[in-house]
């Protein structure tokens, strides 16, 4: 593409089992990356924090809600960032936070808990922010 490469931030806000937002976002991410544009981060906010729960047991032949993201990350190194405050409140923990509160981590290791400074960074550096 002769066009300028664009940088995206996607913000997800919904839990994965009732609405399709998580799937739509994964499909959009695939198209963005295939077109040669970049995804600075996918940011999981509010009930979207649950998407990263590592202990999902999807039905036969189905995928866990994090799988599409994990695949994209291993191919394109897309940062999968989960709001730390929203996650702690809901009980979604990575290794560091689990250690701090003497609990067991339960988020898929491809995801990282981060602060809202990442959204400030997105406002500054990303060409597009899409909330889904």
């Amino acid at each position: 593409m002769a066009e300028q490469k664009l940088r995206y931030t996607l913000i997800l806000t919904h839990s994965p089992s009732q609405l399709e937002s998580n799937l739509s976002a994964q499909q959009l991410a695939v198209e963005i990356l295939s077109a040669g544009d970049a995804i600075d981060r996918v940011f999981f906010y509010q009930d979207a924090c649950f998407i990263g729960l590592n202990s999902q047991v999807p039905g036969q032949g189905l995928q866990a809600s994090y799988q599409g993201w994990v695949d994209l990350q291993s191919e394109y190194e897309v940062p999968l960032q989960v709001c730390i405050a929203n996650s702690l409140r809901r009980g979604v923990l990575d290794k560091a936070e689990a250690a701090r509160y003497q609990m067991v981590d339960n988020i898929h290791p491809s995801f990282q808990l981060v602060g809202l400074g990442e959204i400030a960074e997105a406002c500054q550096s990303s060409d597009r922010i899409i909330t889904l």
Partner: protein, 89 residues
């Protein structure tokens, strides 16, 4: 020129967006927003809807008859290139 993505199934959303739309803005129905195609087709010119989502709701033929343009995920990505402000309702 903004892109208005309507994911909500609430008819009141269509009215909200109608009030804020400018010449050159694009409206795209997706997910449960697809159920609002009849009302949306009355309100917006050059209305688009996500083809896969209309198909899985059994609405593709009905929507096409109202001149709703059905687009692919790839075309959605192109829309997000073309519009700087992207609002999701």
């Amino acid at each position: 020129m903004a892109l208005h993505i309507i994911k909500s199934a609430q008819a009141a959303t269509i009215i909200e967006v109608e009030n804020l739309i400018e010449e050159g803005d694009q409206v795209l129905l997706m997910e449960d927003g697809c159920y609002l195609y009849t009302l949306a087709a009355q309100k917006f010119t050059a209305l688009q809807a996500m083809s896969d989502h209309m198909q899985s709701r059994g609405l593709s033929t009905k929507a096409a008859a109202l001149n709703v343009e059905l687009i692919s995920m790839k075309q959605w990505a192109l829309l997000t290139r073309a519009h700087r402000q992207i609002l999701t309702w």
